[in-house]
């Protein structure tokens, strides 16, 4: 009897699981699906209750919405005085102190962010061109009074004429770091009579592809953006980049900010190759951005390093995350091995399929870096020069395009030119193509590496290696995330020391001067030694589809950088030894080891002398233990302002 019951139960479980498993595969991962149909508005159906499956949605109440979604101004945030008041009431120094308490006050002050571009960036507009919001609670209170939000005697929070309380729903992640400063900010707002209802949500939801910020599901929302040498920003601040159901949620302008001057300027900045005009365009965007106060920049996060006090040559730069760019110069007197403690292990050394920061660093020791970006600007390294128009390594000529030509349209998509397509003409204007030939800009760039480079096996770098690089990185079978640059290229000629690239008319990539995938090299001569069907073949003969699986690519690549991979014990260590053919001569330290450790054990290993370098992926802030160890002479701590900055976005419209 018991076994019968057991069998019945097991049967029910099996049937249940089978039924569950028969659901379409796409359902659990709606995040990654292509948006083909996006039409429920206008009008928007307000669904009170939804039953699955979606085809049989039961609508109990339908509310006609006169306008599209996110077109109703937020009654509180629509008033710029309220937004500015929130900015004046925010004491950003106090927020910084709450999370970076061990920093000297001067360094804390240096972290305060005034704009969406870091203060030391070449595109920063300068304090004098921005509306600044130094902490001034009284001014904030006055602005709120003017906006009609008064604080009754003895009442903790402000109300308007109707008696509605001034409160905001504030959403951010549940990271301890954010919980810490958010609690302080909540109190600062309360001091100005503004109630903040904090919601700390999982990062997976907040940054999900179909949830949180991606669906503008916030009133006030905090997260971080990362500043780059090229500021970009078009998808963040242009009017046509406001995510809406109607446009398949395209864009990242979750604030719903549409300022025509700023929108035009950010587009111009992202479609210009001239730095002076770009600086001017970014100045306009920053001026409007800070004046409208649609997003409150708070502070830059820190990049913390802790190293062996005897380590010399270690010199990380603000604006360049690749702190090991000069690892060939590192040295600890009396030691032939430097140990880097990493809490994340690279998934592959093939950067086409793996772009995690640790993979870039791990490969950087093998391949070196084509260029560097100290202080958010570009400096050539393996690349001979930055290939700019100014130094004649690039040209941006006017060419005539006609129907049927391949061009890049105004949205950045490579297309075949037909009537009705919007394109950007050579004057920079967006025009509709009507069959009449149009002049467009066409970019040609020579991307060259320094001469006489040798692979770490002594073989000279040659034209075939450049050819293999481009053809591999642009092969759809390679498994890359995107081929957007490949699609922008009209023609490429392979040279002995680089590439001569001609882009499609209309393609104006702002970082055109910097070598990056698909303009890379691979050792076409390398013979596959690992067991398998490709053993004995040259790399150039192996189908691209199989590259990611090759140990010669994924684990033991060879390149022209200072070190070669000697051994990789998964989960434990990656051992490098000096490249005898390194173009700058022998590295100062013969061996480098990446020791894979855990965050819980990292500081103990540094203080215990097992590792020599901990970086900011392990250390989120300077700890008391490290500060004390520095006083005892056991470690040296370095804290830099990172390009990553915290901010609070104001959603100007209701859904």
């Amino acid at each position: 009897m018991n076994s019968k019951r057991l069998a019945l139960f097991a049967g029910i479980v099996v049937v249940g699981l089978t039924a569950a498993a028969c659901a379409p595969a796409a359902q659990p991962t709606p995040a990654s699906v292509e948006k083909i149909v996006q039409v429920t508005v206008p009008p928007v159906e307000k669904i009170v209750e939804v039953t699955a499956p979606p085809e049989t949605v039961r609508i109990e109440a339908t509310v006609e919405v006169p306008k599209g979604a996110f077109s109703t101004p937020n009654p509180k945030l629509a008033d710029v005085r309220v937004r500015q008041a929130l900015a004046y009431c925010s004491d950003r120094l106090e927020l910084i102190k709450s999370v970076y308490a061990l920093l000297p006050e001067a360094e804390q002050r240096a972290l305060i962010a005034n704009s969406f571009i870091p203060n030391s960036h070449w595109a920063y507009a300068g304090d004098e061109n921005l509306t600044l919001y130094p902490f001034d609670a009284e001014k904030g209170k006055r602005l709120l009074d003017e906006a009609g939000w008064k604080q009754p005697e003895g009442a903790p929070f402000r109300v308007n004429d109707k008696g509605d309380e001034l409160f905001f729903k504030f959403t951010t992640t549940s990271a301890v770091f954010r919980q810490t400063w958010a609690a302080v900010w909540e109190q600062q707002m309360a001091n100005c009579g503004v109630r903040i209802i904090r919601q700390h949500v999982p990062g997976s939801w907040w940054f999900g592809d179909t949830t949180g910020t991606a669906r503008r599901d916030f009133e006030l929302g905090a997260w971080a953006w990362t500043g780059q040498p090229d500021p970009g920003g078009q998808s963040l601040y242009a009017c046509d980049q406001i995510p809406l159901p109607e446009n398949a949620w395209v864009g990242q302008n979750g604030m719903g900010w549409c300022n025509e001057a700023a929108s035009q300027a950010i587009k111009d900045a992202n479609n210009s190759l001239d730095r002076k005009s770009r600086i001017a365009d970014y100045a306009i965007v920053q001026r409007e951005f800070t004046r409208d106060m649609v997003s409150l920049p708070l502070f830059a996060r820190t990049n913390v390093f802790a190293v062996n006090p005897n380590l010399t040559g270690f010199d990380p730069k603000i604006g360049d995350e690749n702190f090991n760019y000069n690892i060939a110069e590192w040295e600890i007197p009396g030691k032939d091995t430097i140990v880097l403690g990493w809490t994340q292990e690279p998934a592959s050394m093939w950067l086409l399929v793996e772009q995690a920061q640790v993979a870039i660093w791990a490969y950087g020791m093998v391949g070196g870096y084509q260029w560097l970006s100290p202080n958010y600007d570009y400096t050539p390294a393996i690349q001979e020069k930055m290939s700019t128009i100014e130094n004649n390594l690039a040209t941006n000529a006017d060419v005539e395009v006609k129907e049927g030509d391949r061009v890049q349209d105004a949205t950045g998509k490579p297309i075949t030119l037909t009537n009705g397509v919007m394109i950007r003409n050579s004057a920079g204007e967006v025009v509709e193509f009507n069959g009449t030939p149009v002049m467009m800009k066409q970019l040609n760039v020579k991307l060259l590496v320094i001469k006489d480079l040798k692979w770490s096996d002594g073989e000279p770098v040659k034209k075939a290696d450049f050819e293999l690089g481009f053809n591999t990185d642009c092969n759809r079978d390679a498994g890359a995330t995107t081929y957007i640059v490949c699609d922008q290229v009209q023609a490429v000629t392979f040279l002995d020391t680089g590439f001569d690239v001609t882009y499609l008319p209309g393609a104006q990539p702002s970082t055109y001067f910097a070598m990056a995938s698909p303009f890379v090299i691979y050792p076409s001569h390398r013979v596959i030694e690992s067991d398998g069907e490709f053993k004995g073949k040259k790399l150039a003969e192996v189908p691209v589809k199989a590259w990611a699986t090759l140990p010669e690519i994924a684990e033991r690549p060879i390149d022209v950088g200072p070190y070669v991979v000697k051994e990789w014990v998964k989960g434990e260590k990656i051992v490098y030894e000096a490249n005898p053919f390194y173009y700058k001569g022998a590295p100062k330290t013969r061996n480098i080891v990446i020791s894979i450790i855990t965050p819980e054990n990292a500081e103990a290993q540094l203080i215990g002398g097992q590792v020599d370098v901990l970086d900011f992926t392990t250390l989120t802030a300077l700890t008391e233990q490290l500060a004390a160890a520095e006083k005892d002479g056991k470690v040296r701590n370095i804290v830099l302002a990172s390009g990553t900055w915290e901010h609070i976005d104001f959603n100007l419209y209701l859904p």
Partner: protein, 418 residues
């Protein structure tokens, strides 16, 4: 037929052997079902959970180099097989099929059978709360059986091929990851289990025999402490006490973490230790093994004590004493053997743990073991790696169950299987 075989067996062999053979066959079939069921459940749970290898790919600045286009997303979904229906994915993971249409005598069957969706159709609906929800309402382009031809696929876990890692060790074999870490985990968990048994058994026995003695009070207190305090407390405490502080004082100290050194190091009293030597490995293993042992000893000794106390109250123990047997004989011959029967279950069920590792201890000591790998695989949505570990753990668990049942027959003659 089976009955006939059984009768033949009974004629040729003693009854117990035939019963045992039949029992084992039944158990193996049950075990296979349980493993398959657990694999299906684990696969479904992992794949239904939010996230996945493409999560966040869209959350990047459009137009930038790394931001995928809709065509890129379609290609990537196919790369990770996310465009296939779950049962099809599961079958390919389990047995390496289907790989395309069925071909019989030059005839192709089911080539146009739909096995997934390459281009799902989404719709945004607004809920009463104002929040927009994205729903999949159809499929604009199906994936057919014929489309699977040429796609890479593993041989299937039933044939020992766990496929390739998605994110932890991109496109490299899952077995590489497991085989690299398994020896380290076995080293850690094996030594700690052995030491725990060697320490806990005498402690538990002595504690039970000397119930309410000072020794019993001390071991009981320590056992409660060991059970109640979290592993990370002991881990951090040990690192401080036996590594950081003595090193600062220039005394003998142990390495604070990792399974072995990567360069020579000095230890007062031992001189310069070369990495990878036996001494180096032992020094690195002492602290994590000690922590795991401590925690296990606490639990095991309490269990043995309790079990033995219960047996010591039985009539047959009283009878043995009444017959004039020495206390040593009573304990070792009569009481302990019976007291250990339930303990066998506890010990045998530690076997899957030997493989699965100890997540907290491994994390505290940077021990490159299976526990950390499992955590990493889950955090980075590397389902092939996570599934491989869940599958192997499931197999080991059912094997441990069988082992436990078989062990009962060895220690208790009253128990018969069949």
């Amino acid at each position: 037929m089976a009955l006939q075989r059984m009768r033949t067996c009974q004629r040729a062999h003693p009854l117990s052997a035939c019963l045992m053979a039949g029992y084992l066959v039944r158990r193996l079939i049950q075990m296979l079902l349980v493993v398959l069921l657990s694999a299906a459940a684990s696969y479904a749970v992992l794949n239904f959970a939010p996230g996945g290898p493409l999560s966040g790919k869209e959350n990047c600045q459009q137009g930038q180099r790394g931001c995928p286009t809709p065509d890129d997303l379609k290609r990537l979904r196919a790369y990770f097989e996310l465009d296939l229906n779950l049962p099809v994915r599961f079958a390919r993971w389990l047995i390496g099929h289907p790989r395309g249409p069925i071909e019989v005598a030059g005839q192709t069957w089911f080539a146009d059978a739909s096995v997934g969706c390459a281009r799902p159709v989404e719709r945004s609906v607004q809920l009463a709360s104002g929040v927009f929800e994205t729903q999949i309402v159809g499929c604009a382009q199906s994936v057919y059986l014929a489309d699977l031809v040429g796609r890479r696929v593993s041989e299937g876990v039933l044939r020992g091929d766990f496929g390739r890692s998605w994110t932890v060790l991109r496109d490299r074999p899952v077995s590489d990851l497991i085989l690299d870490r398994l020896p380290k985990t076995l080293q850690l968990t094996g030594w700690s289990l052995l030491l725990a048994l060697l320490i806990a058994l005498p402690l538990g026995v002595f504690s039970a025999v000397r119930q309410y003695s000072v020794f019993d009070y001390i071991t009981t207190t320590l056992a409660f402490l060991g059970s109640a305090m979290p592993t990370f407390f002991f881990g951090i405490g040990f690192i401080l006490l036996f590594s950081i502080l003595p090193r600062g004082l220039g005394w003998f100290h142990l390495p604070p973490g990792s399974a072995e050194a990567v360069r020579p190091y000095d230890v007062p009293g031992l001189g310069t230790i070369q990495p990878g030597t036996v001494l180096d490995l032992v020094l690195h293993a002492i602290l994590p093994v000690a922590v795991l042992t401590l925690v296990s000893v606490a639990g095991f000794s309490r269990f043995v004590r309790g079990s033995l106390l219960e047996v010591l109250r039985q009539d047959y123990v009283r009878t043995a004493r009444a017959k004039g047997l020495t206390e040593r004989m009573v304990i070792s011959r009569h009481a302990l053997r019976n007291a250990l029967i339930p303990f066998i279950t506890v010990v045998v069920f530690s076997v899957p743990g030997l493989f699965a590792g100890a997540i907290v201890t491994e994390s505290i000591f940077s021990w490159p073991g299976m526990g950390r790998l499992f955590l990493l695989a889950l955090n980075s949505a590397d389902y092939p790696v996570a599934m491989a570990m869940l599958f192997i753990t499931a197999v080991l668990t059912v094997l441990a169950t069988l082992l436990s049942d078989l062990a009962y027959t060895l220690v208790d003659p009253r128990i018969r299987l069949g």
